[in-house]
Amino acid sequence: MKTSLSKQQDNRKEIELFIGPQHPASGHMRFIGRVDGDIFTNFIPDPGWVHRGIEKIAENRKWIQIIPLVERAAILDAANMNIGYVIALEKLLDIEPPPRAQYLRTLLCEINRITSHLYGFGIAGIMIGSSTFYMWPFADREPLIDIAQLITGARLTYSYMIPGGVRRDLPQGFKEKALKALKYIERRLNNDYFRIFFDNPVTKARYQEVGVLKRDDAIRLGIVGPNLRASNVKYDVRKVEPYAAYPELEFDIAYEKEGDCYARLLVRVEEIRQSIKIIRQILDALPQGPIIHKKYEKLVSLRKLEEYQKTGIFGLPAIFTVLRPPAGEVISRVEAARGELIFHIISTGELRPYRLRMVTPSFRNIVLFRELISGARVMDFPAIYGSIDYFPPESDR
C-alpha cells in the first residue's frame, strides 16, 4: 500500500486524502484517495476495520450456535443471513421444513429487506446532507421493526429460523397490525418521499448521471443485488433459484436502465413495493400446519410441547446441542437485501463444521468504490457511497 502511494510523491499537484475511519461519511472504513483539484484521480477502499473472523470462529462453534454468529455479519439484514445458513444446514441434514414455516421465513425475510433498504435510504440521505431524509426512513423502519419484534422477540437480531422450521408462530392479531404498517409505509413511500427527496431538483442534480455503471461493466465486475439490477440486468436469486416460499409467490424483478446513482435508489424503492406485495400475499395465503419438522417435534420435553401447542413457541430440542450432520459439502444461495449471499459449508460429521465460507454481497460490491469514484468529483464521493448501500461489517465479516 505504502509504495503505491508514495510513488507519485513528487507530483505536487495532487494531495493525498485519508478518509476515515473517523470521518462523518466513512463508516467503519477507510478510503485513500488522491485529489487533483476537485477530481479524485485514484480512490482505493481500505476495508478490514471490522474484521472479526466470523468464518474462523464458526469452526469452533456447534452447528446451532452459528445461527446468531452469521447474523452478526449484517444485523440490519439478519433474517436473510439466517435463512442462507439454515438452508445450507438443512441440505446437509436432508430435511425440508413444513410449508407454514417456509411462509413465515419468507415473511420475515421480506420485512427485513424493507427495513434494510430504508436504512440504506437514510444513510444515502445524510450523505448528501438531507437530514430529513435521514430521519424519515429511520422513523418508518420502526413500525416494521415492531412487526418483526412481534414475531421474533427482538429488534434486529432475530435468530428466528432453526433447522427444520422456525422458533415461533405468529401471535394473535398479527395480520391487522402488519397490514396497518404496510399501508403506512406505502403511503409515505409513494407521496412524501418523492416530494421531499426523489423529485427534489437538488437530489436529482446530485444523483443523475453520477457514478454511472454500464451493463457490461456490472456483469464483468460481478456486481450483485440492486446495484446490478440498476444497470439493466434482470438477475434475482429469488427468481433464478427459488428457495423458501418464493416459487409460490408472485412478484417482479425491479430494474432500471440508467445505471447511475439515481437508478440505484429507484431500484430499491421498487423493491420495497414488491416486498410489500409479497407480504400481502403471504398474509392472505398462509397455510395452516406445524411450524417445525415432525422429526424434531417429538424430541422436546412434554412441558415444552404443551407450551408449543398452546402459545406457538417451539422450544429447542436438546439434540440441537449435539447436532452432527453427515459429512458432505453444500452451497446455498439466497438473495439478501444487498444482493446474492452464498454459504459454502464443509462438514466432516463432527459437532462443528470443518469450514464455513460466506460470500457476502457487500464484499462483492466493494470494487465499485474503485470503479465509480476514481475520476469523480470530491463531492460525488458521498453520493456514490450512499447509493451503493455498502455495509462494512457485512463485507469484513
Partner: protein, 334 residues
Amino acid sequence: MEIVDLILNILLHPSIFVPLIFPGFITILIIIILLIWAERKVAAKIQMRIGPLYVTRRFGGILQLLADLLRYMFAEVITSKDSDKFIFIASPIVALTATLLPLAVIPAGSLLGIELIALRTNISLLAALALSSLTPIFIIIMGWASNNKFALMGSLREGHLMISYEVPLYLSALSVAILHGSLDIVDIVNNQQRVWTVLINPFAAFSFFISVIMSTSRFPFEITESDSELVAGPYTEYSSILYGLVMGVPYMRLYVFTLLFVDLFLGGWYPLIDGFSSITLIIKVLIILLFSVFLRSVYPRYRLDQAIRIGWHILFTLSLISITLSLLIIGWVM
C-alpha cells in the same frame, strides 16, 4: 441622579446603543441563541420528533445553545503542533468582529425616538457590502492556518464560492440603488413608504436572497463546511471556545445580511409609527431568518461546481436582468 442620567445618555447615544444593544451585540447574542434553537426545533418538527428538550424542560429546551456554549467555554483549547498558532487563534476573533462591522452603517429604524444608525453616510450601501466581504477572507485564512488537508480544501471551496455569490449580490444591490437613485440605505427605505422594492423588482430580491443563502452557507449551499466529505471544512481543527466563535460567524453574517435584505427589499421599518419602528423591522428579520434556517430540513446540498454554475448562470443573469429592469423603470418614470 446626575450620574445615572449621564450613563443613560451615553448608553442611549446612537453610536453606543447601536453596536452594543440594538441591533448590535446583545440583540445578536439573543437572536443567535434563539435562532439555533429554532433551527433544531423546526428540523425536529418536520422530522416527526421533539428536538432539544430536557435542558430546560418547561420551556422546550430553549437554553440548549447556552449549555453548548458553556461546554465550549470550559473545554480544553487545542492548537495543533503544525498550525500557525497566532493566526489560528486570532482569525476567528477577527472574523467575528469583521462580521459585525456592517452594522455600523445599516439603519435599523428608531426606538424610543432615537435614530438607530451609528454612522450616517451617503454611501452606506456600498460601505455595508464592502465591509461584509471581509469575513470570507478570514475564513480562508482559518483553513490555511490550521494546516489540515480538509481545512485547506474547505477554504478553497469558500474562495471559489465567494466569487460566484458576491458578483450577483452586488449587482442586485446596485439595481436597487439605481431604482431609488441613492446609495444611502436610509433614503432607500424612505423611498419604499408606498410600495416595497420586492414588488417592483422581484428578480433583484430573488437573486439577492439566494446569494445571501449561499454566502452564509445555509442549505442547499452548505458546501464550505459540508461534513460528509470535509468533516467541518475550514473549522476542522477548531475546538472549544474558538469553535464556538466560528460556529457563530455564519449565523451573525446571516443576521446582518437579513437586516440589509429587509432594508433594501421589504420596506425596512415601514409601515409602523415612528417611535417603535424597529419592532416592525425585527419581526420581518425574524421571519426571513426562520425561513432561511427552515431550508435545512428540505434540501440536500448542491455540488460545488453546480453551486458555482448557479451563481454564474442563473444568479448573474438574473441580476443583469434586474439592473435592466431598474433602468427601464427609471426611464419610464422619468
